[in-house]
């Protein structure tokens, strides 16, 4: 097992921390924070998968996931502050 794979397993374990916060969060904002942090962690996981598997298209998944996570968090925050989505 190389060092990169150990780093990958550490990152996958950290995403379970986010899952813990999504399940146990006392308020709805805590769950959104967990989803936001998980979206950033997945970018790092995809970047490590590029080195391990050698398939270079996975970095495209990372970029797309970053943009989609940004849009999802903005939408949820807009909903949380009680506005319509077109204001």
């Amino acid at each position: 097992m190389s060092l990169i794979e150990i780093f990958l397993y550490i990152l996958v374990g950290l995403s379970f921390f986010c899952l813990f916060r999504i399940i146990r969060g006392p308020t709805i904002a805590d769950r959104m924070v967990g989803i936001d942090i998980f979206g950033i962690l997945v970018v790092g996981i995809c970047a490590l998968l590029v080195i391990i598997t050698g398939r270079t298209f996975i970095i495209d998944i990372a970029i797309t996931w970053a943009i989609l996570s940004f849009i999802a968090t903005l939408t949820l925050a807009k909903y949380l502050s009680g506005k319509k989505l077109n204001e």
Binding site: I4, R21, A29, V43, A77, L80
Partner: protein, 109 residues
């Protein structure tokens, strides 16, 4: 040589990610969790992507990873700010021992 330097950058990034997620679990209320985890995880992911760029150089993967760095910076910080504002307007209570509340006059009049 390049592989060693990129391993060092990736290790620093994983360490930052670890401390950010530790703050996500341990801190008491939503504002503390947000400020701890967003900053640490953003910097950690920056470091991992920069390690990818060092390892691959100016090829397709390296340039895409380099492009992803400012995207992560602006997207994560703007999203965290919007999330904090939404949580404050929604009425999430602060921690009992919090000291400063600068937005009280503006949004909770």
């Amino acid at each position: 040589m390049n592989n060693t330097v990129s391993l060092v950058f990736i290790g620093i990034g994983v360490a930052f990610d670890f401390f950010g997620c530790l703050g996500l679990i341990r801190l008491p209320d939503v504002y503390n969790r947000l400020q701890a985890s967003t900053k640490c995880v953003t910097l950690g992911t920056w470091s991992i992507l920069f390690g990818i760029f060092i390892r691959y150089g100016f090829t397709g993967v390296g340039v895409k990873a380099l492009f992803c760095i400012p995207l992560i910076f602006f997207a994560a910080t703007v999203a965290a700010h919007a999330l904090m504002r939404g949580a404050y307007i929604f009425g999430v209570k602060m921690w009992d021992e919090s000291v400063v509340d600068d937005y009280k006059d503006e949004w909770r009049a």
